[in-house]
């Protein structure tokens, strides 16, 4: 059968369109990457002048008085994330183990679904929740309340990554252990977790990184302070809220310090994220947790 009705060859328009789309696609990649370079670049360039030993170790001063520092904010952030971890790690890992080892139960399905919903939930709503439940009732802003709010941000991430890492542990391992007469609780705690501990650690680190960068929940629960907090039940400063307050202020000095604080925060976050990539590399790259 000879070609009678069809155009032979390929039309010029199709060739042009093919090339055009390739160019457009490359343009989108460039557009996606440029903001990252600009932001990181600006943080480094504008933040570096503010950094000094004093900056990192002193307390804040009044708005237009130079020489202030962000020491209390750094301590505050660590405190809040620390409290959040104390709450969210045990519960998150526990739930994650349950999702993985008792995956067929109805509770697992329902709770797992709720967990997915909670992941990536607007953190300001979580902060508002803790604001209503703790801050309004105790009539007190506190690092504790912020810790609770941040734990709600971290919890679903940890539960999800724990569950996914443990699911990767081969069933044969569990079966062999049980067949040897080792009780289930020991099998789970010693053997399964030991095998999956890399993934667990990654998930926890990812969650910690997320929490460190959060602002809204802390804004609503710990407010801010110019002093070191004497207890966790007082208003406490944090890096992120400081950046927000200083960045939106009219003081030139404070604005520069905002960039400095931003640089410190970025360095902490990049450090945490690099730690994640190095502990596990490629195989858990599927746990993009904001989804």
């Amino acid at each position: 059968m000879k070609n009678s009705t069809l155009p032979t060859g390929i039309s010029l328009w199709r060739k042009i369109l093919n090339k055009l789309m390739t160019v457009l696609i490359i343009v989108t990649v460039v557009l996606a990457v440029i903001p990252l370079l600009l932001i990181l670049g600006d943080v480094f360039i504008r933040g570096a002048p503010a950094i000094s030993i004093g900056f990192l170790t002193k307390l804040p001063t009044a708005p237009n008085v130079p020489g202030g520092g962000i020491a209390n904010a750094i301590v505050g952030s660590f405190t809040m994330v620390g409290i959040a971890s104390l709450i969210s790690v045990p519960i998150g890992v526990g739930a994650g183990i349950y999702f993985s080892e008792w995956s067929s139960s109805k509770l697992s399905t329902v709770s797992g679904f709720m967990n997915d919903v909670l992941t990536g939930f607007p953190s300001i709503v979580l902060g508002l929740f803790v604001f209503v439940v703790i801050v309004l009732t105790t009539k007190q802003f506190s690092a504790f309340a912020a810790g609770v709010a941040l734990s709600l941000v971290m919890l679903p991430i940890i539960a999800r990554t724990t569950s996914e890492s443990l699911k990767l542990v081969p069933t044969t391992l569990r079966e062999a252990s049980l067949a040897l007469g080792i009780p289930r609780w020991k099998t789970v705690l010693r053997i399964v977790i030991n095998t999956g501990k890399n993934g667990l650690l990654t998930g926890i680190l990812l969650a910690v990184a997320r929490a460190t960068g959060e602002t809204a929940p802390i804004l609503l629960t710990a407010s801010t302070s110019v002093y070191f907090a004497k207890s966790i039940f007082q208003p406490t400063a944090s890096l992120t809220v400081l950046i927000y307050n200083y960045g939106t202020s009219a003081s030139r000095i404070w604005q520069t310090q905002a960039w400095g604080a931003a640089l410190v925060l970025i360095l902490i976050m990049l450090g945490l994220n690099l730690l994640v990539k190095f502990t596990v590399g490629r195989h858990l790259s599927g746990s993009r947790v904001e989804t």
Partner: protein, 309 residues
Amino acid sequence: MRFRLPRGDTILKIVLVAAAVFIIAIVVGLAIELYLGSAQSIRTFGFSFLAGTKWLPTQNVLSALPFIYGTLLTSAIAIVIGFPISLGVAVFISEKLKSHQNFGYALGTVVDLLAAVPSVIYGLWGVFVLIPILRDYVEVPLHKSLGFIPLFSGNPFGYDFFTAGVILAIMIIPTMSAVTRDVLSVVPNSQREAMYSLGATDWEVTQKSVLPYARSGIFGAFVLGLGRAFGETMAVTMVIGNIPNITTNLFSAGATLSSLIANEFGESSGVYQSAVIEIGLILFFVALLVNFLARFLLWRMTRGTRVKN
């Protein structure tokens, strides 16, 4: 002799079940507490809270519509800008970099890094870098040349819906492109090869076989991005101007549900505070809805209501 489960097993299961139940309790508790907190406002304003257009705390006239509008408008701008870019990045990594897996992985990592930048730093950058650039190089020229179109009719100061939308776009690109990338990688190669063997160019293969096959998942990524945009707070608050406003003018200041909460949560007056909490309740439901929709779409893609053999 009766058979008894080892004590350790029972204890472990109780502890783990408690953890799982806790998660459900959180979500339920969230809904309940927000509802209780908004009760006063709901009693006072009823349905007019959702329909009215004014937010005047001093006159006790409060309604959520300007903030719903702000959330929708900024998210729409974010999607219009961010979705095509995300799609392009995903297609590039998934289709063009097949022979260069390492470069694809590196590029994916770079884009994902955008997701790790805290919202408040986006806001800081937005205030000091993006606003001047957008105002002088985009908004003012647009206003001068196309100012007769309602979209561009306002006098641009930079703190407006448009800037907020652009920042949101940058922030949601990593999420959408990552999910889209995953979704495209699930498309079987035999589909691509079938299209190639009919005599198709690279773009035609992508356009006519890969994207249609993955459309459920791509839509899921789209909705997920939308959900992120709805809930974003700090970056938006810092660049949007925080003045409740319903207008088609993109260069007007505005406010969103989340920016309102961030600004006004500390108000002590009973009804006013209750109204702020009600705004939070609205945001809660919007986020829930969008989340459900996105997960359903992505579930459909992976479980496959597709090829039935």
